[in-house]
């Protein structure tokens, strides 16, 4: 027996494991299936708390499932439904369920009013804890805590901030097409807590949420004069935004909520104006014979993007607010309208009309990389979720001699995971809030 030889082999094996002669393989595709997740009901020994815990888990499941990025595993597939909160879960039990992520937690009643929620998020494959947090809130605020937890989970897994703790204002529609009743309404992002904000005795259109506060700007035909109104959701009070000769419409808040850009139509000419909401000073941004409308701020508030027919057809332009320099960015066929800058800053969503069809699309801020996200007989008015990866808009389809009633739809900017938002009646003009403070 040659000891030397064995030793050489031994040494070789130690070093060979660090040997650099390795294969390099590029993987440029994967599956786009939703990630299987297991969310256990939040537990407590008392019956009341246990059922509240169940409701909270339910809201979280619903939130995550609706993104299309996750799929909830059914309870029946679980080997156990109880995981000791203070112990590492037995991951082999969860791997067999195909869950990639496990969420479990407990709910504790602190006093008559307050509850505390503790939860953990585990990466089942890596056997790694991703999040462990405790949250406290009032009992009647349980839906919001469910949304906050959903945001934490979503954000930890996808790397984007969440958008579940948000609301959507929109226009609720009913009645005949020729005498359509249009009311301002608001709901949670998941359709819960629906409320009407106006009574429908006058037309309400194109609401916009301030990204930084609880203000909503919208076009109201109160007194048969179309003007922009500001509604404070906290006090329920509203007021007209300045008194201008002509019609003000198409409002949009700046990202910090301190300014508002809008259109003012007067004597057949529509131009853009910016108003400082603190000083109420108005400054004119464009002066061109033609229609300049649908302005929207960039996330840093330094530029705006808007549509104009100055070239003879609706196209998209950007303007630097300081230099007032205007640049056309859309050059494609068809009419381009209602551009909306993504809160993430990278993309601009827009409406396009081409060959009798409407499209929702996105393009980079220089106009390149145009991509269609959704197409319908009529679809318009995109609004971004505050994380900049989900879009809402409303759409209508063609029937034989008419069109279907408008409904709000939500879609991932990849064009996947289309969902309809369930509303009490027909719905149009959605506008997403920022993340609630």
């Amino acid at each position: 027996m040659d000891l030397k030889k064995i030793l050489i082999i031994f040494i070789f094996y130690i070093f060979s494991s660090d040997c650099k002669s390795e294969v390099r393989i590029d993987i440029t595709e994967g599956n786009v299936n939703p990630i299987p997740i297991a969310i256990l009901d939040f537990q407590n020994n008392s019956l009341e708390m246990n059922s509240l815990g169940k409701k909270i888990s339910g809201v979280i499941r619903n939130n995550l499932e609706r993104t299309g990025l996750f799929t909830n595993l059914r309870k029946e597939t679980f080997i156990t439904e109880k995981v000791n909160f203070n112990r590492k879960p037995d991951f082999s039990d969860w791997r067999v369920t195909t869950a990639q992520v496990l969420i479990h937690g407990r709910i504790i009643e602190l006093d008559n009013k307050k509850i505390s929620l503790e939860f953990r998020l585990w990466d089942v494959f890596q056997e790694k804890q991703m999040v462990a947090q405790q949250l406290q809130t009032n009992k009647n605020n349980w839906r919001r805590i469910a949304h906050v937890i959903s945001d934490i989970i979503y954000s930890r897994i996808t790397g984007e901030s969440g958008y579940f703790d948000t609301r959507i204002v929109y226009i609720s529609e009913s009645g005949l097409k020729t005498k359509r009743k249009k009311r301002l309404a608001i709901m949670d992002q998941d359709g819960a807590n629906h409320k009407f904000l106006t009574d429908g005795s006058y037309l309400a259109l194109t609401p916009r949420f301030s990204p930084a506060s609880q203000l909503v700007a919208y076009l109201s035909y109160f007194g048969r004069v179309p003007r922009i109104f500001l509604l404070d959701l906290e006090t329920g009070k509203q007021k007209v935004l300045g008194d201008f000769p002509g019609m003000t419409f198409s409002p949009r808040f700046s990202p910090n909520g301190e300014r508002l850009v809008m259109s003012l139509a007067r004597e057949g000419n529509t131009d853009l104006y910016e108003m400082n909401l603190k000083s109420m000073n108005l400054s004119r941004l464009t002066k061109f014979k033609g229609i300049d409308t649908a302005p929207s701020y960039s996330p840093d508030g330094k530029d705006i993007v808007f549509e104009s027919d100055r070239s003879g057809r609706q196209q998209i332009y950007t303007m630097n607010l300081k230099s007032k320099k205007i640049k056309r960015i859309s050059f494609g066929k068809g009419k381009y309208a209602t551009p909306v800058w993504s809160p993430r800053g990278d993309l601009i969503a827009f409406t396009k009309f081409l060959n009798g069809e409407f499209y929702i699309g996105v393009m980079y801020k220089d106009g390149k990389g145009e991509r269609v996200v959704y197409k319908a007989y009529l679809v318009e008015g995109p609004t971004w979720a505050p994380n900049g990866r989900v879009l809402a808009f409303y759409s209508q389809n063609k029937t034989k001699k008419n069109i279907t009633n408008p409904k709000i739809k939500v879609i991932d900017l990849t064009g996947r995971n289309l969902r309809e938002l369930i509303t009490p009646s027909d719905a149009s003009d959605p506008a997403w809030s920022g993340l609630l403070p």
Binding site: E22, V23, V32, R87, R120, G159, D346
Partner: protein, 249 residues
């Protein structure tokens, strides 16, 4: 003969030792840890109070400038009860430390077990054929000049990872991100180790979430054992997978 007996004793005791400690490292004993996992405490309180104050100020300034009487509102919107978010410090950061140690241990075990596998085989052969043992040992020496993997063999390996990887599509700057992970495989094609080529500590959130999706992919149960041309172990025992999203929108 005495020499080989001596060696055999060394090896065996070594194996026993590794099993004793290795099982601990691997958690084979299923010892349940009773350690408290730290929790980040977030009280939903103060933060929003501050915000609503700010909003109030804003409101006042707008009110002053405008005397228009607002139209009647049918249903006043109830503002959400502002959840109050107050962050307390994480109780402890032990968990992280433990994790790191675990990782290190795991690595050690991986290397040792692959060594052991081979040595065991060698040993068996020794016992059976005493005379030809030298030859046997020699034949077990990996073939350095072995054939390279063919393109189709690489493609077979590549395809196996596709279903395991859930693409984090749609995230910001997704087309600019690529994540490399180094895999270590045992002779049967089992993935016994994985490590990111670059740590994501200082990288963007987008990069981090792509990196995590990659780590989940290579630890996916369906990708635990990879179909490989067994003879060419030397060529695939270390594989670098480069997950590239530039073609994915």
């Amino acid at each position: 003969m005495i020499g080989s007996l001596f060696l055999s004793i060394i090896f065996h005791s070594f194996i026993i030792l590794v099993f004793l400690f290795g099982s601990d490292f691997l958690g084979l004993k299923k010892k349940i840890k009773l350690t408290d996992i730290p929790i980040e405490v977030v009280e939903i309180a103060k933060k929003s109070e501050a915000v609503s104050k700010k909003i109030e100020k804003k409101k006042e300034s707008i009110k002053k400038k405008n005397e228009y009487t607002p139209p009647k509102i049918i249903e006043k919107p109830k503002p959400p009860e502002f959840a109050k978010i107050e962050k307390k410090k994480p109780l402890e950061k032990q968990q992280k430390k433990i994790k790191k140690e675990d990782l290190k241990n795991e690595k050690k075990v991986d290397r040792l077990s692959s060594i052991l596998n081979t040595i065991e085989k060698i040993k068996k052969n020794q016992d059976k054929e005493d005379i030809v043992k030298d030859k046997t040992v020699e034949s077990k020496i990996p073939d350095f000049t072995g054939e390279k993997l063919t393109i189709s063999e690489i493609d077979i390996i590549r395809r196996q990872f596709i279903p395991c990887w859930t693409v984090p599509a749609g995230i910001k700057d997704v087309s600019k991100i690529s994540v490399s992970v180094k895999l270590k495989l045992d002779p049967d094609g089992n993935v016994i180790g994985s490590k990111l080529s670059r740590d994501y500590g200082s990288k963007s959130r987008s990069y981090k979430s792509v990196a995590e999706s990659v780590l989940r992919a290579v630890k996916h149960p369906a990708c635990k054992k990879i179909q490989v041309p067994k003879k060419k172990y030397e060529m695939w025992k270390n594989i670098t997978l480069n997950f590239d999203l530039s073609d994915i929108d």
